[in-house]
Symmetry: C2
Subunit: 153 residues, 2 copies
């Protein structure tokens, strides 16, 4: 009976693992911004352009992208704190404590960053994009074409 | 020496775990759409309103949200396939195979859904939102106020 039990337990563990929402980085940001202190709060607030290096294993998923395209780059804000539920908006202590879901604070239960950018250049598995406030080394988890600008009334 | 070694190995494992980009659902979609076949491709294509139930442990992160707010709800598309790198856009076989990063296909390495919605009602830890094409039971991983509409030129 023991081997059968172990097999069942193993396959349950496998099912559990595959259900888990674990992000696999598909690339990384290469930027002149080296730490959180240097980063503007939003890309539109004076952020530079940066390179997005896509891992060779998924590079064919870039096929169809071209300069001028508007994208949402989704990052994993690896330096953020996940146990923060309320913040002063824009770190201004005069503004009242507000739930992180009503703000764009990087500190939040799942620290995902959404960055609207324009593609400047496509060079193999690298995209020149901007403006973007993400710091050097930030993992990228998804890239999507912008819909909101054209589909919202 | 052995206990010291084990402690070091344990703390390395702990560090590894904490670095891993593992999403923790913060809520769930309760919708009249029960499967992928019934779901429109985008919220703006005839999707209904739905309830977003936020887990009590993080409900205070909703503080500040009110009816009329425009949000991006980020979901984990738990029924999507993660090994798809190219698709025919909008499942139209006449359109040429395109990299998933140039499309909004739910099948992609990290199946995150971005849903622009309007808040209709706030009822404790539940938000009535819409229109949204996500199916019933879809895990929600983040909620952010819309910036793109007001900040993009």
């Amino acid at each position: 009976m023991k081997p059968a039990k172990r097999t069942r337990r193993q396959s349950q563990a496998r099912a559990q693992r595959s259900k888990r929402a674990e992000l696999r980085p598909i690339g990384v940001i290469r930027s002149s911004i080296k730490n959180r202190r240097e980063a503007p709060k939003q890309g539109s607030e004076g952020a530079p352009d940066a390179w997005l290096e896509v891992h060779p294993a998924v590079a064919q998923a870039l096929d169809g992208l071209k300069p001028g395209d508007e994208l949402i780059v989704v990052t994993w804000l690896h330096q953020a704190r996940r146990n923060v539920l309320k913040v002063h908006p824009r770190s201004d202590p005069r503004r009242r404590l507000t739930g992180v879901f009503a703000t764009r604070s990087p500190d939040r239960p799942n620290p995902l960053g959404l960055h609207p950018v324009t593609v400047r250049e496509v060079a193999g598995n690298r995209l020149r994009i901007g403006p973007i406030e993400a710091i050097d080394g930030t993992p990228v988890v998804d890239i999507k074409p912008v819909l909101c600008a054209i589909q919202r009334p």
